[in-house]
Symmetry: C2
């Protein structure tokens, strides 16, 4: 790997390094070992929201806003909705048309790589590469608000949750979870009818949340990403949140929590890979047959595999 080219932010070197961590295993380990000491400078911003909220458009507009302010921007778009397909590539191309030709922007879409915490881990590694490559702002875009997204949000210093007006009967269910992870709440498509109701509902829920003195209260912002409206204000608020974290010595604390979660994730993946890798395949199949025939329950079968290794 050409470390100098990577640190200079050369797109080809960055792309190669990300492909390297996507391969996982020794390849990922070698790349991260080479670059980790150059990380820790970027402001990591997670942006999550359900399909239909216009979050991708918003991410592009936030990137443009940062470009106007002279910042280099990396975007990692995580798409767990295409777990089996290479659909992420199309997304890349469509977005590239919008931001293409600007060497100050690097965009990469990532799809899932299996079950073993692969996506969250690979995303964390891709973010490190962009950080080491000198992108001062790294936007991590995820769909939805499931466990994957929460895991990925843990990688961010500032987490933005995007809503759209009138997404219907599940909105109540969403709010419970998102209020816990959101540093900024953005109601996009603010030219739609039900925007006031959505903003009011979010504000009401925020008011219900127990707050200590000096806690950060997430602002509820309105944007019309398609027209770029409200985006400068949103970027100002990201800056305010960063300042809040610094003033209250919370940046180091978030970083430690992030590192702890990542360490646990990697340990988990490594253990499972090695232990399952060392287990006799025909033994696993034999146990599968027994479970399928209801001769054995899954916990007892798992215990047999675990005992064999410990």
């Amino acid at each position: 790997m050409d470390i100098d080219a990577l640190r200079a932010g050369q797109p080809r070197a960055v792309a190669r390094a990300i492909s390297g961590v996507e391969r996982g295993g020794a390849s990922a380990r070698a790349i991260i070992a080479a670059i980790f000491r150059f990380t820790g400078r970027a402001h990591l911003i997670g942006i999550t929201g359900a399909p239909g909220t216009g979050k991708s458009t918003l991410v592009n507009e936030i990137a443009k806003q940062y470009r106007r302010r002279g910042k280099r921007v990396g975007i990692v778009a995580v798409d767990p909705t295409s777990p089996f397909s290479g659909g992420a590539i199309l997304g890349d191309r469509l977005r590239m048309q919008d931001l293409s030709g600007d060497p100050g922007v690097f965009i990469r879409s990532m799809a899932t790589r299996g079950n073993l915490g692969g996506l969250a881990s690979t995303t964390a590694d891709a973010v490190k590469i962009l950080d080491a490559a000198g992108f001062e702002i790294v936007l991590i875009e995820t769909v939805g608000a499931g466990q994957n997204e929460v895991d990925i949000a843990k990688n961010a210093h500032t987490t933005i949750v995007v809503q759209a007006p009138g997404l219907g009967d599940d909105i109540q269910a969403i709010k419970a979870g998102i209020l816990e992870i959101a540093d900024l709440l953005i109601v996009n498509k603010a030219d739609h009818d039900e925007v006031s109701a959505t903003v009011a509902a979010l504000e009401m829920n925020l008011n219900l949340k127990p707050m200590q003195e000096n806690d950060w209260r997430p602002p509820v912002l309105k944007t019309i990403a398609l027209k770029g409206e409200g985006v400068a204000d949103a970027v100002d608020w990201i800056g305010k949140h960063r300042a809040y974290l610094e003033d209250n010595h919370l940046l180091a604390q978030r970083e430690r929590a992030r590192v702890r979660a990542e360490l646990e994730m990697v340990v988990q993946r490594e253990l499972v890979t090695r232990l399952l890798g060392g287990v006799n395949g025909s033994k696993v199949e034999m146990l599968v047959e027994k479970i399928a025939a209801r001769e054995l329950d899954v916990y007892t079968a798992a215990e047999r595999l675990v005992q064999e290794k410990l």
Copy 2:
């Protein structure tokens, strides 16, 4: 645990058993060991869709339809959108109003229980309990189409993906993934304007998918769940899919794949729980400090923990 009461489908016994598997560990193991031999009879139907598609209403209508056909129905509603809160309970109450007083229906909402594959595993256990309790139909409802949902879909014999017309710019991204897991595609809210466009887009995408002779082609169905329209047809199609699986000897194959995935998941969780549990907490904190200070990379730190245990 009162096995007879559980097998008779007594709500209190079922509720207690599910609470038992939610506690995890020895409690879950004991319950599953006691009931697994009574499982394997229910038809497991996964229903997934983004927020705003009206999927919860559709699930209720499908349950009612099955009730009219004399089937007992269990519903497990998985809500990964409220990872930190007990929001699922409110959902239970709201839904109970609709289906309450019917001993032939049992509804349980589940929220996430942490990171270690907890949700998918607990959901699989709750499904087993409903199966053993004699519910012939088990509906597993999940939000979104992330990795969590894909994991949960693996627990189903028949997977339904719910769409709604005009959910916007992310619909393209969704389709790539859902076509891989969907056995039935349902466009709900079919009284809305853009329904024909959504159906046409789904059909077009299905036509692009390479099909072998005897492959199942997912039907694209329209429903208006709020009025119960199209639901009987959808339930007929679930039956057709079940017959297809049986006629082609695919039910046993799906069951084996399901069991294999579950075994891997449980082994993973058990290994991580035991190994991380045995690791010195201050050692982990020391490594966290070193990673945060960029003195060590996460893979090298993980390696040290893993080596210590193997």
